[in-house]
């Protein structure tokens, strides 16, 4: 059963057609790659899926629910979480608090509790701490929980962003170039973590990468984007052998 259905998705900025007639069907529990050369429109697709941009035409359905016209926070509530290409952490807050912001809509107490530290405040905060630490542990970040997010090394910042996204209990996780700026060792480790995340959290993952070899290692299915249009789709093997894909990547 598909979790995400994208039909005829397109967006124009002024006269520029950034994405055109994109169709995607993503099965529940799968790990799918979205690849393409720089400027192909991959991040624009993410921005449409998460409500940052409103598509000019086409439809987006998550688990059958229409997402067009919804705001980013409503889409998060509907079950899509994301990371950003240029890391966007709550940099002055601690690692733990970053994840706890992700839990905000799931473990609740009223404003009264916040002001007076009374009622269910203590109990719920404890619950949040435990849950956040549990998520951080998956990323080996639990020992850094009191550190300011800005003071984390780069690789760990990327991981923290994924941890925060997972705290919102998403059905679909969008990762925008999670391995950008990492060395091959770190990348290999991250790819393992991503696979672990899928199993442990039972989440469907769509990830952007422009390094094709990387994606083909872990993704079951790949969409290739070029100049805002779908160039090819299929299993990693099919895509890697596609002549058009090779041309788009290597040039004539």
């Amino acid at each position: 059963m598909p979790i995400l259905e994208v039909t005829g998705l397109g967006i124009s900025f002024g006269g520029l057609r950034a994405v055109d007639d994109l169709n995607m069907t993503i099965e529940k529990g799968s790990l799918v790659g979205l690849i393409g050369p720089n400027g192909a429109g991959k991040t624009t697709v993410f921005n449409m899926l998460t409500g940052v941009y409103r598509p000019t035409d086409g439809g987006i359905r998550l688990d059958g629910e229409n997402l067009i016209g919804k705001k980013p926070d409503e889409i998060s509530a509907a079950g899509i979480a994301r990371t950003f290409q240029n890391i966007r952490l709550f940099s002055k807050m601690t690692v733990l608090d970053n994840v706890k912001v992700g839990l905000h809509n799931h473990i609740k107490y009223p404003l009264f509790g916040s002001l007076f530290h009374a009622g269910s405040y203590a109990k719920k905060e404890k619950e949040m701490d435990e849950k956040a630490l549990e998520i951080l542990k998956v990323f080996d970040l639990d020992s850094n929980s009191d550190l300011k997010a800005a003071n984390l090394p780069y690789g760990k910042q990327r991981k923290l962003e994924i941890a925060r996204a997972l705290a919102t209990a998403p059905k679909l996780l969008l990762l925008d170039e999670p391995a950008a700026g990492m060395n091959p060792n770190e990348t290999a480790e991250l790819m393992e973590t991503i696979q672990l995340v899928r199993e442990k959290f039972g989440v469907t993952i769509l990830l952007i990468e422009h390094d094709m070899k990387l994606v083909s290692g872990i993704c079951e299915y790949i969409y290739v984007l070029n100049f805002g249009r779908e160039l090819a789709q299929g299993t990693p093997k099919e895509v890697l052998n596609n002549q058009e894909v090779i041309t788009a990547y290597l040039g004539e």
């Binding site: 926070d73 998060s76 950003f84 966007r88 912001v101 905000h104 809509n105 949040m128």
Partner: protein, 324 residues
């Protein structure tokens, strides 16, 4: 990660408050304070409330507001109208006045919340300044508020004789805001400041929470206004101009953005400073201006960065030695 209602932190805060209270009471009753100093004791309290509540907007939420005095004026006028018109006994009138002042200010905070949803940075700053000036002109215009002659004959409920109560109100407000920062709501305010796009993508309805922060801050500023009105006894719209908003903003910035303790210290110093510099008469404002510029330059200078680095280095060395 212990979370108890009576945590160590809370006990310390309560202890500090109690000691402060006793100290000031001894000073007042022992006759150690000059008349001049007695007269700033209550202003000290409402300035602390103003600074701490503005800190919530500027320091924690990260939005620049140049109209905080407007909330104070609404609190002051609405409560003063209530106490002068109804003439209830003080023990009923004052609590009701506090609630009325707070709620009226909060209502204005909600209205200001509307442009806050659409505007950012400098544009928001000028709109908050504009709101302040609009409110001021309206008070100047309305017959019921006495126009530019002002509203007089307000019962004096919050003079230094009532210091205990005013101090208690101030302490409670400071504690409530401190509590708020360490809660799911406070975390969301800080998250919006750090990265509002990420906050929204994390499921936070950014607009709702921004409005909420403005309403809460306005409520407390309104209470400060009630204390003000019933301390001075006469209200003039000119008292709540943008210079006052800026004075409070300076307290928040000098106190170190988002630090409640810092805001309190800055509010106390900046309230006392003009009194202490009174012997310099004309030169005090000039001095104030120079100190302000010098502090801002120092705060952002490479000299300060070097000093901080040095301190961290020596700390590190110390902890390393201890580890051996």
């Amino acid at each position: 990660m212990k979370r108890k209602l009576i945590s160590k932190k809370n006990i310390i805060s309560v202890a500090i408050i109690a000691v402060l209270y006793i100290l000031i009471q001894v000073l007042i009753n022992g006759g150690y304070l000059s008349r001049q100093m007695m007269s700033v004791i209550i202003p000290l309290c409402y300035n602390v409330i103003m600074a701490v509540s503005l800190s919530l907007i500027v320091g924690v939420l990260g939005e620049l507001s140049l109209g905080h005095a407007a909330f104070m004026s609404i609190g002051a006028y609405s409560s003063a109208l209530f106490t002068t018109k109804f003439e209830l006994p003080e023990f009923i009138a004052l609590p009701l006045a506090l609630i009325i002042g707070g709620l009226c200010a909060a209502a204005l905070g909600f209205i200001i919340g509307i442009p806050v949803l659409r505007l950012k940075g400098d544009y928001l700053a000028i709109v908050t300044l504009g709101f302040g000036e609009i409110i001021k002109s309206i008070f100047n215009f309305l017959p019921i508020t006495g126009g530019s002659k002002g509203l007089s004959g307000i019962p004096i409920y919050t003079s230094y004789r009532n210091f205990g109560l005013v101090f208690l109100i101030t302490a409670v407000i400071v504690l409530l805001i401190k509590n708020l920062l360490d809660s799911r709501h406070g975390r969301v305010f800080a998250a919006i400041r750090d990265n509002s796009i990420a906050a929204q993508a994390t499921g936070i309805p950014v607009g709702t929470y921004k409005t909420m922060a403005f309403v809460i801050a306005a409520f407390f500023a309104g209470i400060a206004g009630v204390l003000y009105a019933h301390n001075v006894g006469i209200l003039k719209p000119g008292n709540f101009d943008y210079n006052m908003s800026i004075e409070i903003l300076v307290m928040v910035v000098l106190g170190g953005m988002g630090s409640i303790g810092g805001s309190i210290i800055a509010a106390v110093i900046l309230t006392l400073l003009p009194e202490l510099l009174r012997s310099f008469a004309d030169y005090r404002m000039l001095l104030y201006a120079i100190v302000l510029i010098a502090l801002m330059l120092f705060n952002n200078s490479s000299l300060k960065k070097k000093l901080i680095e040095k301190r961290q280095m020596s700390r590190q060395e110390k902890s390393e030695k201890e580890g051996e």
